[in-house]
Symmetry: none
Subunit: 211 residues, 4 copies
DNA sequence: GATGAATGAGACTTCATTCAT
DNA sequence: AATGAATGAAGTCTCATTCAT
C-alpha cells in the first residue's frame, strides 16, 4: 500500500502518477517496467517516488488493486441490480460490460495479462483476489439453481470453473486484438460460448443427466 | 536455435545444461532468469554458454520448442492411435496424458505459463506454435462431426475455442498446485468439464438447437 | 553531449572526471579505454558515470569537442588579432601557439592522433570539425592574396592542402616526442617548413609560374 | 613473425589466410578485428591459427611487414631504374605508382591508416619501418643536390620532412575516397603539390635564399 | 600437426534504491 | 516533504588464448 504521503497529494497529481504507472506497466509488464520511466512520465522527482511508495512492487500491487476493485465493482453492481434477469442474461451483460471496460482502457486488461511472469508476486496476488471473484460467480450459480433455471445436476464448483475458463479466454482475445478495439467477431464468438453454456446447463423437461 | 557446438556435446552434458535451464526458467520466468545462474548450475564456463547458444533468448526458445514438441507429439500420437474412440473419449485420454506429463515434470508447464511477460517474444512464439495445436483440435472435432457423434450445430471454430479455454484452465490448475502433485480433485474437476462438453455437444434424437 | 547532471556538478568534480577521461583516452585511444578505469581514476561510482554521460562514446566526443574548440579558439584569436601581420608571420605565431598548447598538455594532441581506428566514429567527427578548420586556413590565404603577399598562381585550395599536411606532420612530431617536451629541434624544423612555404608562395617581381 | 608451420603451408592456403587477415584489418583496424573472424573467413580451424601465429598481434605485424615491403620495393625499384630522371620526375612516378597501388588494393592503405590507435604497437612499428623509408627519400634528395637540380640551401632533412608530410596527406586523400577509386581530382591535386615543391626547391640563377 | 571445444577475465550498461540537501 | 544526485550490485555478452584429442 502506498504511504500516507501519497494519499495527501492533490487528486490531479495522484492521477498523473497512476496514469504514468498504468501506461508503463501495460506496455512492459512488471519486470520490464522502470521506476525511472514512471517518474519521468509523471514528472515527479525520483526521490518523491520513494516517499509515496515503499518500492516498485508497492505501486504495482496498488495498481492491480485498483483494476481489480473496478472490475469487481462493475460485476457486483450488475449482479445486484439485475436480480430479475436469468443467470445467462446476467452473464451476457457482464461480458458486454467487461468488453466495454477493456475497450475503454485496454491497458488495464494488459496489466493483468502480463502478471504471470513473477511467481512469488503472482501467488500473493492470486491468494488475495481470486476467492472473492470466485464467490461472485458461485453466488450467481446458486441463484440460478434456486430459481430452477439450471439443471439439478449442475455443480456450482464446476460451473464456476467453466465460467472462469471463459473469462480467461476472453482476456486472451482482448489481448490479441492489438488495436485496442475488440473486433466484432470476438464479441460474437464470446456470446456464442455463453449460448453453449446456457444450452448445456439449463433445466430441461427430461432432466436426467450431465454426469 | 542452439549452435552446432551444442548438439556435438555428450548427451550427459547437454542434459545437464537443459536441466539447469529448465530449472531456472521454471522458477523465475524468462525475464528473471540469469545466464549466470544457468551457467553456475550446469557447471559450464560462461564462455561456453555463448559457444552453445546465440544468447539467453536462443536457449529459452529452444526449451519452449522442446516442451511444445513433447506436448504435440503426445497429443498427436493419441489422436492417431485411437481413431476408434469417440471424440470425448480421446479428449479424456489427452487430458490424462497431459496431467501425467505435468506431474512427471511440472517445470515444463510452469515455463509456458510464465511466458506472457515479454510481449514481442510471446507474440513471436505464439505465431509459431499456436496454429498447429489449433489444427489438432479442429481435426478432432471434424472427425466427430463426420462420425455423427457431434450435433450438427457444433461449429469447429467454436468448439476449438471451448477446448482451448479448458486447456488454459488446466494449466492454471497445475500451476497453482505448488507441490508438483496434481491433486486428485483437480483431475476430477477436469473430467467433469469434459463430461459437460460431451453432454452439450453430442448429437441427440431431437437435434434442433444450440444456437 | 553529456547530460545536464554533468554540467550541474561542482567544477572540481567535473574537472576530475575530465582529467581522468583525458588521461585514459590519451594513453589508450578510444577503443582501448575502459569506462571502469575512468571511473576508478576519477573516484566516482560507475552508476554516476552513466548519469553524467550517455555512454563511453558520448564522453569521448565531448572530450574531442573541448580539444577542438580550444584549438579553434586559439587559432581564430590569432587570425583576428594579428590582421596587420603577413600571412606567414601569422602562420608562425599559430605554430608557436600550437606547440605551446601541445607542450602544456600533450595528452590533447595524443587523443586526436589516436582517433583513427574507429571508422564510423571518425567519419562522423571529421564531418563535424574539418570544415571550419579548413575555412580558417582558406580565409588566411585569401587575405594574403588580397594583400598581394602571395603570388597570383597560388590556389587557396592547394595552399590549404599544403598547410594541412604540415599541421598533420606537426602532430606527428609532437606525438613521437614521448617525454612531452617538444624538442627544440622539432620547433626549428617546423619553422623552416614555413620558411619554405613562404619562399615558394610569396609574390615576386618576375611572377610567372608555379604551375 | 609467424611460426615455421605457417611457412610450410601450401601457397594457396597461406594466401587465403593473408587475404582474410587483410580484409579484416582493413575493415576494422587492429583493435576491432577478431581472430574469430579471420579464422572464419579463411576457413582454417581456430587451433591452427595459434599454430601458425604467436597471437593476433604477430599476424598483424606480419601483414604490416608485407605492406611495407611491397611499398618499399616499388619505391626502390623506381629510384634505381630511373636514375636518369630529375628528382621531381622520379617523385611524380612514385606518386603515380603509389596511387596505382592504392587503387589496386585499397585495403593495404587502409590498414596503415588505422594503425595509430594502439600506442605501444605503433611505436614499435614506427621504430622498425620509418628509418629506411626516410633513407630512400634522403638519398633521392642527395642525388638531386649532387646533380645541381636542387638549390644549395635545400636541406635533405627538411626536404624529407616535406615529402613525408605529402605522403601522409596522400594517404588521407585515398582513405577518404570511399569507393576505392582515387578520384581524378585527388591525383591532380597531388601532382600540383609536387609542382610546388619543384618550384620552391629547384636551383635558380639568382640562388640566394630559402632560409 | 590439426582440430574445435573450453575458458574466464573483463567490457559496457541498467536500474532499484538510498542519501544528502 | 521535496528533490535529484549517488550508489553499486548484477546483468548480458565478447573474445583472445589454451587445452585436449
Amino acid at each position: 500500500m502506498p504511504k500516507e504521503t501519497f494519499f495527501n497529494l492533490s487528486e490531479t497529481k495522484r492521477k498523473r502518477i497512476l496514469e504514468a504507472a498504468i501506461d508503463e506497466f501495460a506496455e512492459n509488464g512488471y519486470e520490464n517496467s522502470r521506476v525511472n520511466e514512471i517518474v519521468r512520465r509523471s514528472t515527479i522527482p525520483k526521490g518523491s517516488f520513494y516517499q509515496y511508495f515503499e518500492n516498485k512492487c508497492d505501486l504495482f500491487r496498488y495498481v492491480l488493486d485498483i483494476i481489480y476493485k473496478k472490475k469487481m465493482e462493475m460485476m457486483t453492481d450488475i449482479e445486484i441490480s439485475h436480480k430479475e434477469l436469468s443467470v445467462f442474461e446476467t452473464l451476457r451483460i457482464m461480458v458486454e460490460a467487461g468488453i466495454k471496460m477493456a475497450e475503454e482502457d485496454p491497458r488495464l486488461s494488459k496489466i493483468s495479462d502480463k502478471l504471470v511472469a513473477n511467481k512469488p508476486l503472482m501467488d500473493e496476488v492470486l491468494k488475495e483476489y481470486a476467492p472473492s471473484s470466485d464467490d461472485l460467480i458461485k453466488s450467481l450459480i446458486r441463484r440460478g439453481k434456486d430459481n430452477g433455471e439450471l439443471a439439478d445436476w449442475v455443480d456450482p464448483e464446476l460451473a464456476s470453473n467453466l465460467i472462469t475458463a471463459f473469462i480467461l479466454s476472453l482476456s486472451e482475445m482482448i489481448r490479441s486484438s492489438n488495436n485496442g478495439i475488440i473486433a466484432e467477431a470476438a464479441r460474437e464468438k464470446y456470446l456464442s460460448l455463453i449460448n453453449f453454456l446456457e444450452y448445456g446447463m439449463k433445466r430441461r423437461e427430461d432432466d436426467d443427466s450431465g454426469k
